[in-house]
Each structure stands twice: as C-alpha cells, then as structure tokens.
C-alpha cells in the first residue's frame, strides 16, 4: 500500500502496538535544555531510575541565558539555579552538555542541525514546541512536555497516538524577495492558527524543493503555530549536501549506506493524505502579523483588518481582542505602523543565511533614531561564521547591538525583554500577548523585513526599500 513519509517514519519506529495501549515509538535523538528538564531528572532520582541511552541525549543552555555575558550568573539568581541544575543533572546522569560559552552551544534547534545531530529518518524530541524545526531533514520531530521528557530519559521511547496527515503543496516558483518566513506565515494565515491540530504536515512542491536547508528549517519551525504535531520535508540532494561532513553525521561507507536509505524517505506518488492544501507561490507577498496569534497575518501592501472582515464568530472576537491589545485601528496601512524595537534572532531566524540577508539590507544605512535593534545569532558557530564574514561590523555600524547566542527576546525569559507599549518587528515565531514582555506588542516578519523596518522606523516592503 502506498505510504506517506510520516507513515514510513512511524512504521520504522514502532516498538510495540498492543491492543488497549497507546503505541510505543522509539526516539533516536533527545535534545534537552534547562527549563523543561529539571523536574524530569528529579523524578528519575525519586524513583531511582537511570537515563536509558545517555548517548542519544544532548543538552544545551539557551532559554534563560543572558546574551550580554557568557557568565552563568548573568541572567539572575533563579536562572543561574536552573542552569546549574542542568549542569549537575548532566554530570550525574552522563549526558553530554554544551554549556555556557562552549563552541557548540546554541539554541537547541540551531545547534542540533548544524552539528549533524539531526539526521533524516530519525524521531527527534525535545521539551520545546519548536522541535518541529528538525522535520526539515525528513525526521519526525516534535515538542513534548516534561512528563514525556522523563519518559524518554528513562525508556528512550514515547507513547503516541498516530496523527492524521496533511499535505501542503506550495506550487510554482517563489517570487524574488520572498523568504521562507513569508511562505510559512502565508501558510499559517491560510490554514488558521489551529487548522492543523491533530495533523503531521508535509511541505511539498517546487517552491519547497528549491529552498535551502536553513530556509526549510524556518518553514518547519513554525508548524506548531498552526497546531501541527510536526512538519516534514522529504530529504533530497540539498539535505545530503548540507549534512555531508558535519561533526556527528555518518562518515565513509556508513554515510553512503545512510544516503541510500534516506533516499527512500519520500511519500509514495499515490499516497493519500487526509487533507491537502495548495498554495500558489506567486501569490505570496512579504508578510507582517497584526494580531496576537501567528494566524493573524497579512501582506505588507495591505491594511489592518476590521472585525467585520471575519465571517466566523470566533475569529471576529479574536480580532476585537487582538486590535485592542495591539492598539491598532482597522484600515491602518501596514506600512504606516511605527515600531521602536527590532529583534533579529530565535530558532526561526537566527542562522547564517538570515544574518546575511538582514546585513545586506542595512549595509551602509543607519537604524532609525526611534528604534532599538538587536541581533542575536542562534549559536556560537553562527556567531563565529558571521564575524568571519564581517557581518557583525555591518550590524554595529548601522546601530544594531551584536549579542551572544541564546533564545533572547523571542520569549523574554532572560534579561532581553520589552516593556509595556513597546512595538517590535521580530523575526521570532510567536506574537502572543506579553510574549516579549508584559504589555509589549510583537509583529512577526522575515529577517529582511525586520532589517528594513529598523532603518525606516516603520514597516516597508523590503522589495521596494531604498533606505532612509
């Protein structure tokens, strides 16, 4: 019977499917960080249990850390306690940790792929909802809660019910100047903020095939933002080229055998999906969110919608709430919205290609006098590469702050946060109320759009942007 990629990955990892029990699947790679693991380790200790496969578990520090200093104490006492708890747990249970200032440290979803820890055909989990990022390699990757973190640590498996399948087909060539972020925001706008709940989505079509690995990660990263369990892109030549020679990728004959196997990881031509969504790439414009969930998004050449624009009662009510929180009037041109903060970073958009494109937009220009702008590379490796290319100098000369790697202002669990009334053009993934600081307002955009907004002081179509 023809199968989808998800069904193949599922079948490969099914350890046990007993009647009356939730199926048990094997986990190849478990990524952990300081915020969602301490209670899991504490329970292991309480029950006298071990980490079953420490070699399949990798830890890093990202959510809590300061981006101004690599000192573990720099982000405050409770953050330091959580970070030190991770250090102690990793030492006690034999888990490899890339801690403060380690050359491999980074945001967990930036670090895994760039080290070759993320490989096609794996099941990858992490106590973080943006684990879907790793699906860009054709691995089944999803976020889990702390009880599940404990379950994976103790057993290297998880109990999961099988998801439904959704194919998202982005047809044709993408227009010049349209980024992966614009593509995924347009998808979320179309499917709706909960439209893929219960589904694993597979992104297909000419546009997706022509994306780089980093662009594919941006697309898969935001799968959770429309409810999907995971997002997948079938591995291909682009995937293999990216992975070849990476530190933890297989080498020699094993590499050749692996590639042979990975080439079979595609949905069969006549495989049936439960739902199919088709989007024409040529219709996608640069995107800007106007509301308080990522589905509340529109094109740069558009206006802030009015509640009456929505026929669905829930969407109408959500629009009323969002406009109030965001302090926006219906009909306002998106290009007339002024911002006073710019954040370039997060597991969505902090990789080297993101920084290159943002730097190319601001080169030789100056950040608007009303704007505070920061750039936070996703990992120490990204930072090092950017500095080797002189990108840090371009940002600094334009008036951006060049920070140390971390999750930073994406969630503001550290000292990078906004205050009430701030309005931010952000390359992150969530525009929820208070996400970047209580009372602050977040507009999600691509790195190029964020860079252009930093210069102009308001949103502009980066494709028509000549600078200020």
């Amino acid at each position: 019977m023809p199968s989808t990629l998800y069904e193949k990955l599922w079948q490969r990892h099914l350890v046990e499917d007993k009647s009356g029990e939730t199926p048990l699947i094997f986990v190849d790679r478990h990524l952990i960080h300081e915020v969602t693991s301490p209670q899991a380790f504490a329970n292991l200790k309480f029950h006298g249990r071990k980490v079953h496969c420490p070699e399949r578990t990798i830890a890093t520090m990202d959510h809590n850390i300061s981006t101004r200093s690599a000192d573990i104490n720099a982000a405050g006492e409770s953050a330091a306690h959580q970070l030190k708890t991770l250090e102690n747990n990793c030492e006690e249970f034999g888990v490899k940790l890339y801690g403060m200032g380690h050359k491999n440290q980074g945001i967990v979803h930036v670090m895994g792929p760039e080290l070759g820890l993320t490989l096609p055909g794996q099941v990858i989990v992490c106590g973080d909802s943006h684990t879907a990022t790793h699906g860009a390699f054709g691995s089944l990757a999803f976020g889990i809660g702390t009880s599940e973190v404990e379950h994976v640590l103790a057993t290297q498996t998880l109990r999961q019910n099988k998801a439904k399948t959704m194919k998202i087909d982005i047809q044709g060539k993408r227009p010049l100047g349209i980024s992966a972020k614009d593509i995924i925001l347009a998808v979320i706008g179309k499917v709706g903020t909960a439209g893929a709940t219960g589904y694993v989505v597979e992104y297909c079509g000419e546009t997706i095939r022509n994306l780089s690995m980093e662009e594919r990660m941006t697309v898969c990263n935001m799968s959770i933002e429309f409810g999907a369990k995971a997002g997948l892109i079938a591995p291909d030549h682009t995937t293999f080229e990216y992975l070849k020679g990476k530190e933890f990728a297989p080498k020699g004959d094993t590499w050749l055998q692996a590639v042979n196997d990975w080439q079979t990881l595609t949905s069969d031509e006549d495989a049936e999906f439960d739902t199919v969504v088709t989007i024409a790439a040529q219709d996608i414009k640069p995107q800007v969110t106007w509301g308080t969930n990522p589905g509340q998004v529109t094109a740069i050449n558009s206006v802030v919608p009015s509640p009456e624009d929505f026929s669905d009662a829930v969407e109408r009510e959500s629009c009323v709430n969002a406009l109030k929180y965001m302090d926006l009037e219906p009909g306002t041109k998106i290009t007339d919205i002024n911002i006073n903060n710019v954040f370039i970073g997060s597991c969505t958009n902090s990789r080297i290609e993101d920084l290159r494109i943002a730097a190319s937009v601001i080169k030789g220009k100056t950040v608007s006098k009303n704007v505070t702008a920061i750039v936070v590379p996703g990992s120490y490796r990204v930072k090092q590469q950017a500095e080797a290319e002189g990108l840090d100098e371009i940002f600094k000369q334009a008036g951006f702050e060049w920070r140390l790697p971390g999750c930073s202002m994406c969630l503001g669990m550290n000292d990078d946060k906004l205050v009430a009334g701030d309005r931010c053009a952000s390359t992150s993934n969530r525009n929820f109320e208070g996400r970047q600081g209580r009372g602050s307002r977040t507009h999600l955009v691509s790195p190029a759009m964020a860079a252009a907004a930093a210069i102009a002081g308001h949103f502009v179509d980066v494709n028509q942007f000549a600078g200020a």
Partner: protein, 198 residues
C-alpha cells in the same frame, strides 16, 4: 499520579478562544526546578494588574467572588496552544482544577494534562455554548465521570471520549514510565536492530 474516577465541582467559564500557554503561565515564572509553586501565577497577566501579583484585576473572571473555589475550567477552542511547557497544566492543577472542558485543545497541552491527571474533556460547540450560557449567568456545578464517560449537570449528560489507555491511566493513576519499563527488553532489542547511522 492521583487516581481519577468522578469529580463534581463548580465551573468557571473563560470565554476566549486560542488561550495560549504563555497566558496560562507567563515565562517569568518558568525558572523553578520543582513541579509546584505555579498556581499563584496562573493567568498572571490577566489576573493581576501589577507585576508582583498583589493587585487582582476585578474584571478577570477568576477573580469574581462567585467563581471562587471552582474546580472545572470551561474554555473555548484551541485551548493551551503554543509552548509545550507542562508548567501550564501544573499551574491549572495546583490552583485546584481537576477538569478542563473545551471544544478543542492543542495537542501537546492535551497530552500533558492526561500525563499529570487533569481530565481534558472535548465537547462539541453546541454543548460548550450551552454550558457557557448557564455558567456565565450563575455558578454551575458539573460532574465529570470516567465511569460513565459523561459530563453531567441537572438531567443533562454529555458523553466524551478518551482512548482506552488514557482511561486506564487516569482511573488507576498509572506511573507511565514504570509501565513502559516492563517492555524494556523489547525496546533494547529494537534499539539493537537499528542501522549504525540511526
């Protein structure tokens, strides 16, 4: 995990769709290394006017006198979306909620609830609207039963579903890790059969 069979309690209706886990428990409270101490920060930014949580916002429904002591949270669609933080259901549970009723839940949040023994009940929109109509007028008492797999009030009874295993775990307060460790040999055999690169 505590066993769950039947619970009767007061309902508080939170009439808002797409409530994300950042609202349920904002990030500034995620730096604890324990599973407790989160209830006081539940819905913090909506519940309190100040950052320290000393001034309750009287317009937020959880602060209304008539809903004090509620143990069933009635919510709208896509409840618990966003971050995977289990701190969200921990906060809900510690506050005193045993049951959350909504037309739909985000997947990770739903699983987290089951794993800690909070019962998530999915009902259709019509039933949810009816419950909101009643609960917004005056405090309503509901009974959720895993024996009959129904949510009841007065002579009304709404059936809900859970998988067989979810029911078993909730009813018996199963330690899911201990349960799976019974299959350890099978897991080890499976791991040994994997190709070198996996």
């Amino acid at each position: 995990m505590e066993k769950f069979m039947t619970h009767t309690g007061k309902v508080v209706p939170l009439d808002r769709a797409n409530v994300d886990t950042d609202q349920i428990i904002p990030k500034q409270f995620l730096q604890k290394t324990t599973r407790t101490g989160f209830a006081q920060h539940l819905f913090h930014d909506w519940r309190f006017l100040d950052d320290d949580g000393l001034q309750p916002d009287p317009s937020f429904i959880l602060n209304e006198q008539q809903y004090q002591g509620a143990s069933i949270l009635l919510a709208r669609e896509n409840f618990g979306c966003g971050s995977s933080r289990e701190h969200a259901p921990w906060a809900i549970q510690e506050y005193g909620f045993k049951v959350v009723v909504a037309p739909s839940f985000a997947d990770i949040f739903y699983g987290n609830c089951i794993n800690i023994g909070v019962l998530p009940i999915v009902l259709n929109e019509e039933a949810i609207d009816e419950l909101f109509d009643h609960a917004l007028q005056k405090p309503l008492e509901l009974t959720a039963s895993l024996e009959t797999m129904t949510l009841n009030y007065g002579d009304k009874s709404f059936p809900f579903s859970l998988t067989e295993f979810q029911q078993y775990c909730l009813r018996n307060g199963i330690d899911s890790v201990g349960w799976t460790l019974q299959s350890q040999d099978k897991i080890d055999q499976f791991a040994a059969s994997l190709p070198a690169w996996q």
